[in-house]
Symmetry: C2
Subunit: 410 residues, 2 copies
């Protein structure tokens, strides 16, 4: 098994206007908006049959013909193994759907789906000669970037609002990144990174500010299709902050359809799930708008959903609408109920972001938006164990010397 020493990338494309941009050269954004990677899918079809995947290692790199890396020796990897798709009959039963699955992305390096995007973005940065990367983050992206940058011997600069969860702050520093707390919002951190690209020679790894994190996240969709034997689910519920994963999955499904690899033409309805206290996509969806407006006083205990302004808003909203899905919010105040429900019924520790998908599913079933006989997939995007502030619990104390009150334990 040898990897082709060339990719099937034909060009890059400005997502806002379809402008054709050259591949194999550094790109950031186009007209301030994301850039997409385009492939010679006819070439891929000739080079690769679906069944060829069977003999490849179970990592995201098995889809290499649909990925942008030119030379496999440039891949920067921490072992991005395929994540399990876990049947959840009890949680599904409670919520009113017969076939519910959780795709457990917490099982990637650094305990987060961010590693798919960063593995790809850092690999491409490495291929294109980048030595210093920087990003703003309020959650798991910083640890993931720091880990891959360390793996690639790059300098890494991370800027976080001082409200960032403690484990995210610690993991960025642990991996040797130059990590800073900023007395502001993620937008303030983003501004520092932008200024640093000129002043410090950093390459900006912000969400959707370079073309390749989408391609990494795309592998969530490719994996899901393969794991479901090329019959996609009826509905996907995805916690949506910056939305790279949702955009990436929709791109994956489109490419798979063009390749003729899907055994059913139907693609899933995509549900962008947010919190009631930070619902920019929900507001825009309901207003019929293609671009979102930052909500007033955005906040949520799910750090990854606290994204008031997403540079890829129109891509998220286009995908949701094209799929026949919706952007829906669930009640911030019930977050812990939903985490507990999944944990207690299935043993699966959903991260706070993904817990909102449980709330949205509950509502969608009640409203007839999702039917009981449909197959539904929730993405668990990170390990709940990384959210110390959310899962904090004051446990009852026992005095072992004082004798145990057994009746009280039962």
């Amino acid at each position: 098994m040898t990897m082709a020493a060339a990719s099937f990338v034909t060009h890059l494309e400005g997502a806002i206007d379809g402008a054709v941009l050259p591949a194999r050269t550094l790109q950031t954004t186009h007209e301030g908006r994301p850039i997409l990677v385009r492939y010679d899918l006819d070439g891929v079809k000739t080079a690769l049959a679906r069944s060829d995947l069977h003999d490849r290692p179970p990592t995201m790199w098995r889809y290499r013909e649909l990925l942008p890396v030119e030379d496999e020796s440039h891949i920067v990897t921490l072992g991005e193994t395929m994540t399990p798709l876990l049947p959840c009959p009890r949680l599904g039963g409670r919520l009113g759907v017969e076939r519910l699955f959780v795709k457990d992305e917490s099982r990637l390096p650094t305990g987060s789906f961010k590693s798919r995007g960063m593995a790809m973005a850092v690999s491409m940065a490495h291929e294109l000669g980048i030595k210093r990367v920087a990003a703003p983050t309020a959650g798991n992206a910083g640890g993931a970037l720091a880990a891959y940058a360390a793996r690639a011997s790059m300098d890494c600069f991370i800027f976080m609002p001082d409200s960032t969860p403690m484990i995210n702050r610690y993991e960025a520093a642990l991996h040797g990144a130059k990590a800073f707390l900023v007395n502001g919002l993620i937008t303030d951190c983003g501004r520092i990174v932008r200024e640093g690209t000129e002043k410090m020679g950093w390459f900006d790894m912000s969400t959707l500010k370079e073309p390749y994190r989408i391609e990494g996240k795309k592998t969530m969709g490719l994996e899901l299709a393969e794991q479901m034997n090329w019959r996609l689910p009826h509905a996907i519920l995805y916690p949506t902050g910056g939305g790279t994963g949702l955009i990436g999955m929709w791109k994956a499904f489109t490419e798979l359809a063009e390749l003729g690899w899907l055994d059913e033409a139907r693609r899933p309805r995509m549900y962008a799930c947010q919190s009631t206290t930070c619902p920019p996509m929900v507001n825009a969806f309901e207003a019929g708008d293609r671009f979102a407006v930052a909500p007033e006083n955005p906040h949520t205990a799910a750090a990854g959903l606290c994204v008031p302004s997403a540079v890829g808003d129109f891509l998220i909203l286009d995908a949701v609408r094209e799929s026949g899905g919706k952007a829906m919010a669930a009640d911030e105040h019930r977050l812990e109920d939903w985490m507990r429900l999944a944990c207690e019924l299935e043993g699966i520790a959903l991260c706070p972001e993904s817990a909102f998908c449980v709330g949205v599913l509950e509502r969608a079933v009640a409203e007839g938006e999702i039917r009981p006989d449909e197959t539904v997939v929730i993405f668990n995007t990170a390990a709940a164990q990384k959210y110390a502030e959310v899962i904090e619990a004051d446990l009852p104390r026992l005095d072992h010397a004082g004798g145990i009150d057994w009746a009280a334990l039962a």
Copy 2:
């Protein structure tokens, strides 16, 4: 692909005296010491060729003929995918070995290798009709047991010393276990569980107090052998608290040798790695003893290594000696240096327990115990992100409104 509706288990065996005990019935310990599972390896050899594994899903259950579950419908799973074996050329170079690998067990459910053992123990408890489980823990075992018990709809009781790391306390409660903090040591917690087996009808899931956690941990060795193409490394460095993993791996290698699956007769030298501040195995190894004595004032920041009395001490020491390895300690005070070294050079966040393996490797190379041209594997047994107290970092703060001092950032 269907699973045989019967296992190849022939009997259980008291590890201390070889007593033959019946399988398919509840067993705990024998003479207060661990019980091992024995298989009809000739039967396995007839039923399964090494090459048959290729077509099976990449989870620990691919080795089912060498595992004790009788009926596959009894398997309680959260998706125990094979963990990556990561080449670490830079860390190896720094430590003086050419071929160093980290097997990253942090990628299992709940972010810990404990899930291999608990997946198996809970599956067997489920098969044998158990409904209520309990365990003492000072680390990752509690969260893993709570998760699998929830997945199997069992009641779960967890008792932890009040010094247990915060994330471990939280995750047990999050999964719906009845979790308690005890003002004492893990031995005090163990005593409560033992009393509860009679008074409360709990099944005791303590380390090595039932026969099956070893069989789960055994899959670390089976996977490693398959991933290394049936040529085992020269040396394995394993952080050793209760030692179930070391015992399990050595059992795996013995079974693989009997099956004739190893392409080189050589089995690895096993290095049991401990902290200088809690080194019972090291003390016993150096004294030439088969049983260990609890050290005075045992403590270490690596919660999983704070096991002063291991019920499987003789099994650990037997395996280490039979393999030609050693029990070695590394300096408690350099723990953070070693974590940082692996993180910064390779992007791999070793848990504190596994960081001691880095220290031991450094010493072993310096002393000529491990040669530069040998293949060496370190097991990373959990996600460093779960150790908030150890990875805590006070990050520098930036005032974004005050203007950035760019020179100071560089």
